[in-house]
Symmetry: C2
Subunit: 410 residues, 2 copies
Amino acid sequence: MNLFQSLPEGTVTSPAGFTAVAVAAGIKQENQLDLALVVSETDCSCAALFTQNQVVAAPVIVDRETLAANNSRLRAVVINAKNANACTGEPGLANARATQQAAAAALDCAADQILVLSTGVIGVPLPMDRLAAGIAVGAKGLSVGNGRLAAEAIMTTDTRPKHLAVRLDLPGGPVTIGGMAKGAGMIHPNMATMLAVLTTDAAVAPDVLDELLRTAVNQSFNRISIDGDTSTNDTILLLANGVSGTAVADPDSITHFSAGLNHLCTALAHMIVRDGEGATKFVEIQVTGAKSEADAHQVANTMAISPLVKTAFAGSDANWGRLLMAAGRAGVVFDQAKINLWIGVQQPDELQLVASGTPTAYQEKEAATVFAQPEFVIRLDLGSGGGGTAVVWTTDLSHEYVTINADYRT
Amino acid sequence: MNLFQSLPEGTVTSPAGFTAVAVAAGIKQENQLDLALVVSETDCSCAALFTQNQVVAAPVIVDRETLAANNSRLRAVVINAKNANACTGEPGLANARATQQAAAAALDCAADQILVLSTGVIGVPLPMDRLAAGIAVGAKGLSVGNGRLAAEAIMTTDTRPKHLAVRLDLPGGPVTIGGMAKGAGMIHPNMATMLAVLTTDAAVAPDVLDELLRTAVNQSFNRISIDGDTSTNDTILLLANGVSGTAVADPDSITHFSAGLNHLCTALAHMIVRDGEGATKFVEIQVTGAKSEADAHQVANTMAISPLVKTAFAGSDANWGRLLMAAGRAGVVFDQAKINLWIGVQQPDELQLVASGTPTAYQEKEAATVFAQPEFVIRLDLGSGGGGTAVVWTTDLSHEYVTINADYRT
């Protein structure tokens, strides 16, 4: 059964009724794309998830307010890169609202139909004149052919644009879900630090859309980790304009749509990990045999963010003691005499390194071969007698990560 | 009032009645010191603190058992470097006990009068023949002059030995406290990952010793962070042999002794941070205005372990947005509109960067000058209306850290 068709070239403009534009507004260096607009020809229902950080950027505050008042007739999203409009106080809030107003004027709609996203450096005022001028110019260049350029415009330390679409044949007819994401550092669960804009031409009520988005994000963006740092700006939006004429309301359609959305989000999340700052490895960490899923997730996550684990990945060093050390500091109680550890390239269980807490007689060379691959899988079974399992995806901590982040602003 | 005299050349053998030896037992490369014995001529009371990690090394298990049965007539500590005897299963436990027996035989005492410490690679069996031979040879070379060599023998990725002593004039007479520590990676609160052996010629009952050690460690070793990773082997021991004839039992003596011990532990903890793997900066992070000390500590700690904060330190980039981002993800609720942030070299409040959540009109050049110093102080006030404060000491995350940890075993 072909549940959905994946469209690698697909973007936020693949669903019917969406257009986009990318502009070099002068926020980044001259002639670099730094502003994107995604616009629906009709009103959209919208679901959103935001950063859990206590320090949140002005656009997060403004979008939360906007969606609290209106989650059923959104029209457009404005995204700028290079400047996060975070830690900018009251002037920052005024700038986020002015961005809404500029877009509303250019697109001939109301300010509360506009959502604003920002990413980049913290603590610097947005250059409002350039931003407003960019929006005015951009509104005249909207096109269905600009989806990929929009994904490029929202990049910061990303090295490549991240976008995808999936097409589904629902009982009521075909629908498309498209998406783009950015983020290569400050990536961590509880809204992996990133921006993502998802669009669909299905007709979905806001409450259904919210449930679908939460489910998808919990299995995708909340399972990736590059450096354990969450950002002030994390936002993921899902806009549904209903232009396809197909509704997602009955259980069958919801299940089917959910599968497609989960695939889209997981694929975008993996793109973020693969493009992680300085990343040379893509590592899947599975934890099984935990007392609960929460325990398993906590252990997997602590392994994924441990600098000693991540530098071992970078060095292709199968230093599994660090994996156990990190698991042991996760704050989850387990019996070290019951743990089992495997690694593999195609499957997680190709080579067992630890059995009942004691090293097996594995060959170091074999283990090193696995860790030398660009992608591999680790499975730690805690032997706690529970069915709790979790999977996270992460990267190594390389010299390049340090170079990127030691010199980001200079 | 001169509460105590600091002796920079002091070691574990500065207190009367303690001797030590350092041996090249062949656990490290040939001719490198890798084994130390610290021996008291009389029975000692002993207090100890161990790692909070769920995965603990064999010597931690054995020492906990030993001290549970006997905390008042200890005689010696055996410390080996290069091999942690962790994740080694039942054979590892047998090896730790065999190490006790070898030392007991060589020193003519009982096995339960010996404590064993190991540090180094995880998951590799101890080379017991070499270790036992080293102990036998070492027992014949014990001397009060070997304190510094003992501190050298326990080093792993440390670049220099860490030792100090303090002399106190108690009401009952003079006493000395000496100490050595090792640790340069896997350093984090809740027993900063390290080994430390402290000695004193004061006479102190085990329960008093325990209280004194907990107080001192909470203000020192538990306040440092290099990479957020705790180890399987963290151990700190305090042995009191009473050879000075001066007791620490009355409130005045306890207060006085406590001040000296706190100083010693804080100084050793700072030595560990300064010698952190790849460290080029020594940064003090103060958090004030929190609802509780625990909240303040949690926020300070999250800032201290954030890779994005630490790479900013490495790059001498006063990217304070990352400091707020890290504070915001600490799991502590605060109002970002009330936070204030200062940095300074001599004092924490030289340059205010954020006032009531909004950037001040500071000069970037001034901020960069502070971050370019080898030592500086950061103070974040959360404005939560509470008196909770905490201080942690940390380092930067440099290229050298990655080099050291990507290639540790190869």
